[in-house]
Symmetry: C2
Subunit: 368 residues, 2 copies
């Protein structure tokens, strides 16, 4: 049964909410205490459209944590196992953030403005509080706060075309996970080639919410003829693409190594960070579980609300954390955490879904 | 226009969700990344029933932050301006938690198990991350984590009667903001006389979610004849009673002195805490704004979604953060933050609501 969401100031609107609601958003989730659209037409329609055309997404919920001050770079490196020493100031880095036990606190994208000024574009946890606590406790000279920045994403195969119409042709020169500051009206925004889909596109870091609707309107006006539509991260497409969701597929119970993020946790000479000892130990011993792409056979399943047990020979060997019917692949695509000894590709398991037990198979990789 | 909420694992169910949904919950909000019911019959029906009978509330969203270890008491006192030195182990303390600039990070209730073990029952922010960051940064010997504890509240004038039927007559001896461990089935729970209404009642700290539905069912079975119903924090009743909501009426932009919490921030010999300097300075200079009870004239208003400007002689002098039509008081009751020089009781202001400008008046106090 479907339930309504009650309005309140505590669940924050975004600078684009007016446009999102005028466009007929049907459902929301709450992410970082802010509204995130989840459905416009319906999840399948939105999915097909995203893969064929171009969409504008209100992803303001990707709040920024700004680190500003002489110790900003030092604190940034303490936060993550990823080596930031060679990061250039036009790069975006995906980076796991872990506590002293190596457990995931967030999996954000970082933007480096300079050695003394960084943004962390966060997933769904109040990373601000962890960073503020560390800065205070360690006596570091750095201000940590949430600036007035709300990302708007443009995603889909026609993203370059739409973005060029608003920001000019230089937008096409931005490489993957790089960013550039581009003019808009009487201001400018950081524009990155990034986003939470595998269809290509950009994220525009809208500084000062007052510009929100002007940018929203400019994109839709420029997109006439491109079949531009409002959209949002799409459950089916992101599972097919193996885009993990913090809070769904990984939580504070998990380490980045369990989540397939080992390549961002390589030990390096002179590199120190919080949680290093725990991650090094896990790397040498091996992980107890790993995230896998898993196809679940049979008719389309409804979304995961509480994790579904993965069974083998009557014993639980893991859990499914996200699932959706994929029209393009003709199966239920899913993401699951599987115990050591059971995660080999081709392994046949069963899943206890709310609609009864289903046969499932561990895939070689995601559906890309 | 009303919107649906999309299900996902990231927006967590509670140990009582099964009961809540079987009872016909109509709407939710998300609080601490978990479902919090907001409406059963309708907000006015739920309000009248709460004031006359007894309700069972799923307030699992009041997650606990446990501090456990030799430095737990030291860290607890650093967190809050409230003097904890005389706190007894059966007491519950409401305590503002501020950062080093004296800004509110949360306004939880603390429970002291012993000098080395505390729970903080949190409002809507990941206080866990702040406390973990401090513990790490300061090198304290204390474990900080979220235990498997989900509060269930029993609220309303018949609360003592219902609770006695489940926990025995000793529940009546629990004084206001005191707690006692009482037996249930083959376990026991901490039961406190507390809760987010002014109608009296208890909060049961359910340890181990597996006991959730057994307790839920036991309360409804015992409440036959008492007109027990499922309920939830009620917007109208909590505004009438002046129960502030973190994220609505106060945010990280505010200090506890602005929020009328000065009595929990009294400087004392030998008392030190994070943010002391900022709060002492504000106490000596006076606050820039203050929370007030404000009645808004005219027809019933819809809930606040983004704050409504409070105007006086054409200038903005504050904002309304929560509002609801009160059937019992025949006016729109509201909570607002008002700038210095404009907050005297009796001051006439106007409010820019989504339904147009309305006349308003600052009240002596809340509607209790």
């Amino acid at each position: 049964m479907a339930h309504f969401i009650s309005p309140s100031r505590r669940v924050r609107d975004t600078p684009f909410t007016q446009g999102v609601e005028a466009a007929g958003v049907k459902a929301y989730t709450v992410y970082n205490r802010m509204l995130l659209p989840t459905v416009f037409e319906n999840v399948e329609f939105d999915y097909h459209h995203l893969k064929a055309h171009v969409q504008v997404w209100d992803v303001s919920v990707e709040r920024q944590v700004e680190l500003n001050g002489p110790d900003a770079a030092k604190l940034m490196q303490l936060l993550t196992p990823r080596d930031l020493r060679k990061m250039q100031s036009d790069q975006c880095y995906y980076m796991p953030i872990v506590d002293n036990e190596g457990k995931m606190l967030n999996d954000p994208l970082a933007i480096k403005h300079s050695d003394t000024r960084w943004w962390i574009s966060i997933a769904d946890s109040d990373l601000l509080f962890w960073v503020k606590g560390l800065a205070y406790g360690l006596g570091l000279e750095v201000n940590v706060f949430e600036p007035d920045v709300s990302p708007l994403a443009v995603q889909g195969p026609k993203s370059d075309e739409l973005m060029e119409r608003v920001f000019g042709s230089s937008v096409r020169d931005i490489r993957f996970f790089r960013q550039k500051r581009l003019a808009f009206a009487d201001t400018s925004f950081i524009v990155a080639r990034s986003g939470y889909s595998k269809q290509g596109g950009f994220e525009i870091y809208v500084e000062d919410g007052q510009y929100g609707m002007a940018l929203w309107d400019a994109l839709f006006k420029a997109g006439e003829g491109l079949n531009v539509r409002p959209g949002c991260p799409n459950l089916i497409e992101r599972i097919e693409g193996g885009l993990l969701s913090y809070g769904n597929d990984m939580t504070m119970e998990n380490t980045p190594l369990e989540c397939g993020l080992g390549k961002f946790c390589k030990p390096a000479e002179g590199l120190d960070h919080i949680g290093k000892e725990a991650l090094d130990l896990e790397a040498s011993k091996g992980s107890a579980r790993q995230i896998r792409a898993i196809s679940i056979h049979g008719a389309p399943l409804t979304p995961v609300r509480t994790s579904w047990p993965l069974m083998r020979n009557g014993l639980q060997v893991g859990q499914i954390t996200s699932a959706a019917w994929s029209p393009d692949f003709g199966t239920n695509v899913s993401i699951g955490m599987v115990d050591a000894g059971h995660w080999e590709a081709g392994t046949e398991l069963s899943v206890e879904t709310p609609e009864g037990p289903r046969e499932a198979r561990i895939e070689e990789g995601f559906w890309i």
